[in-house]
């Protein structure tokens, strides 16, 4: 079986998973204690209006027919409208507004974890039991142990007061570009990046720096746990590989230190890191609700949280569907990466 056939098979095999996930979502929101009609009417509840809305929304239909309707709409990407948070707005429009902020946040937190955690872990693994290893390992444990919500609040507190603490010598808010500590990032410059860059490159770069600075504290918090994780696993993976027989064979062959690390150790040490890295997609979805709330980023996490507490059923269903798609997608990506990095992973079964 070729790599592409294997890939197609994995995609086909993920369809039942998506159906299962969305079914559970439907069961949770329709069979749970939430009454969408009360949520829509709020304090102006009266029986006639409620009956009217119930008929309009098709909530009088038998449950199975509602289920098939729900599934059919999701799978045809007819994602419906919000009922409570922004009545009449389509889920598409809401996602268009909120998703870019979450993607921007996720992008930076994965990047920070990747480019700080893994190199630090590999460095510690290559120099085991030295002071710098102890320092990095200790840092990794502490970093990993700090809960997101706590770290987020501490960081907001600290950054807001940098001005007072340093007597105005360093103020986070006015450092490089003026920003607030707690703010959604301004991502307008991404709408048509090429065009606006051509028109005014200076302004465009300024906007990029601003958006990066706005997201940096939140990304640091969100990436912290995975950064610690990757550091620890990276260190162990390197230590395990460095003591393996094939590394000794390579040394006995006269391979120089640098080639040894980059060719023989690095690729093998990456194998256990792949599921850690892809597993972060899940962490980022869940964790982003907290962090987005603390930093007032108003991204998908914030939207999902509000949809849930307000009983906005179609929005919850749609967002869950998108989360499921992202998770299944990263799982397929993970399997795909495996086949590239590790030739022992078979395409059968």
């Amino acid at each position: 079986m070729s790599r592409w056939q294997y890939f197609m098979r994995r995609v086909l095999m993920s369809i039942p998973v998506v159906i299962f996930g969305t079914t559970i979502t439907f069961a949770l929101i329709r069979l749970g204690p939430l009454d969408p009609v009360s949520a829509i009417l709020g304090t102006q509840y009266n029986p006639e209006a409620a009956e009217q809305i119930r008929t309009n929304l098709g909530l009088n239909q038998p449950l199975w027919s509602q289920y098939f309707d729900f599934m059919y709409r999701l799978f045809t990407f007819n994602l419906g409208q919000s009922w409570v948070i922004a009545p009449g707005t389509t889920a598409y429009e809401l996602i268009q507004v909120y998703a870019p902020r979450t993607i921007w946040l996720g992008f930076w937190s994965v990047l920070i974890a990747l480019f700080v955690g893994i190199p630090l872990g590999f460095y510690a693994g290559l120099n085991p039991n030295t002071p710098s290893d102890y320092f990095a390992s200790f840092g990794g444990i502490v970093w990993r142990a700090m809960p997101n919500f706590w770290l987020a609040i501490m960081l907001v507190t600290a950054l807001s007061q940098t001005g007072q603490w340093t007597n105005g010598f360093f103020t986070w808010q006015s450092w490089i570009v003026k920003t607030n500590v707690v703010t959604p990032p301004t991502l307008g410059f991404f709408v048509s990046p090429l065009e606006s860059f051509m028109q005014n490159p200076g302004e465009w770069l300024n906007e990029l720096v601003r958006a990066t600075k706005q997201i940096a504290p939140a990304a640091l918090v969100l990436g912290s746990a995975s950064m610690g994780n990757e550091m620890r696993i990276g260190r162990t993976a390197v230590l395990e590989t460095i003591n393996s027989n094939y590394v000794e064979t390579a040394r006995a062959k006269g391979v120089s230190g640098r080639t040894l690390v980059w060719k023989h150790i690095f690729r093998n040490a990456l194998i256990p890191l792949v599921p850690i890295i892809t597993g972060e997609a899940f962490l980022l979805l869940g964790g982003s609700v907290f962090v987005e709330t603390v930093f007032a980023i108003n991204g998908l996490g914030w939207l999902f949280f509000n949809a849930a507490i307000n009983g906005d059923l179609p929005l919850i269903g749609t967002l869950m569907y998108i989360f499921i798609l992202i998770l299944v997608g990263t799982n397929i990506l993970q399997d795909f990466l495996y086949t590239i990095i590790d030739p022992r992973v078979g395409y059968e079964g």
Partner: protein, 358 residues
């Protein structure tokens, strides 16, 4: 491969490798372990020198010391490793890299794990070719194919593009040997290359090594704990015990008249040597001690059936077993056997080492 032949080569040539008084120690929090303690032996071109001993007797550390592959907390503390007239201990790391895999190559114990699983076999052979002979591209591929054919891997062209996990155990060991031979080494160090293989494959690999030795005039240092394998392949045997070489003899001589009580014990503990149905196989009681101090006594004495009082206070040096026998050395107070034991003890005590072969 006969003893006579090796004796002839020995007489009129310089050894390719001469290890003199090598000591390698490992520093732990508790103690300093002298894994190799004062080992001396020679290897000549075209001959196979076997090193036998129990686990933990220092065989592998000796091999790794020669390759300078000892990492912290281990350290070569003493001695000289003369290879082609140059002391390997004084080489810089860079010089050492060009010797490793170039003039001295090594084959390791476990063929299943000694190839990198994420690169093709061809890639790993060509890596050695590029490092030491500057070959690349189709030239390297051609050379690699020839190497695989030389070690008896059929369909070499296709096999080159396969990954180690697609090879069987015996085939992998052949590939590892091909990799070791890539740069025409003068000395091949084999660290238990057949231990992980079943007996049929073992015999094939030994045969292959013999063929390659004849073709290329290779010197082979062969480490094993299997006396049967030693009898098969070696011209000369060094028996190691607790970091020391306690007996050194041509292979036939060693098997016909072992001198050191430890060697005698080892050979007696091999099943199937004229044992009747009711006879029990003899064993050597006890374990190998950890050599963690300066030897002022015989390290084998606690387990030795022939031990006497002097064994606890005098450290035996390797000496000719008889004054007319310069090829057979043993480190035991009972030898040389043609003088009285008291005289022998006195010679050992004075540290008057009479090495038979130099």
């Amino acid at each position: 491969m006969s003893t006579d032949q090796s004796t002839k080569t020995r007489a009129d040539a310089e050894p390719i490798l001469s290890v003199e008084n090598l000591r390698t120690a490992f520093y732990t929090d508790k103690e300093v372990i002298r894994a190799v303690d004062g080992v001396s032996f020679d290897i000549y071109r075209g001959e196979t020198v076997g090193i036998v001993g129990e686990s933990g007797s220092g065989k592998s550390v000796t091999a790794r010391s020669i390759m300078r592959l000892i990492d912290s907390p281990g350290r070569i503390e003493n001695g000289r490793i003369m290879f082609d007239g140059e002391d390997l201990i004084e080489k810089s790391p860079k010089q050492m890299r060009s010797i490793r895999g170039g003039s001295i190559a090594m084959v390791f114990q476990d063929p299943l794990t000694s190839l990198n699983p994420v690169y093709t076999v061809g890639n790993q052979i060509k890596e050695a070719l590029r490092l030491h002979r500057g070959l690349s591209g189709s030239k390297a591929t051609q050379e690699a194919i020839e190497l695989l054919e030389a070690v008896g891997i059929p369909d070499a062209n296709r096999r080159l593009r396969e990954y180690p996990h697609q090879f069987s155990g015996g085939m992998r060991q052949r590939a590892v040997i091909a990799m070791a031979l890539a740069c025409d080494p003068e000395l091949l160090i084999c660290d238990e290359p057949t231990t992980a293989l079943d007996v049929t494959i073992q015999a094939q690999i030994l045969e292959l090594l013999e063929e390659l030795q004849e073709e290329r005039d290779l010197a082979i240092m062969f480490i094993t704990h299997d006396m049967g394998v030693i009898a098969e392949i070696a011209d000369r045997v060094n028996v190691m015990y607790a970091g020391e070489i306690i007996e050194n003899a041509p292979v036939v001589e060693l098997f016909e008249s072992p001198k050191h009580p430890y060697t005698q014990g080892l050979l007696n503990s091999i099943p199937g040597q004229g044992l009747g149905e009711d006879d029990r196989l003899s064993t050597i009681e006890g374990d190998v001690p950890t050599p963690n101090e300066d030897p002022t006594y015989c390290r084998f004495a606690p387990r030795c059936p022939k031990a006497f009082d002097q064994c606890d206070v005098v450290h035996p040096k390797p000496m000719s077993v008889g004054s007319d026998d310069t090829e057979h050395l043993a480190a035991c107070l009972l030898y040389p056997e043609d003088i009285s034991t008291d005289e022998a003890v006195a010679i050992h005590r004075d540290g008057n080492t009479q090495r038979g072969d130099n």
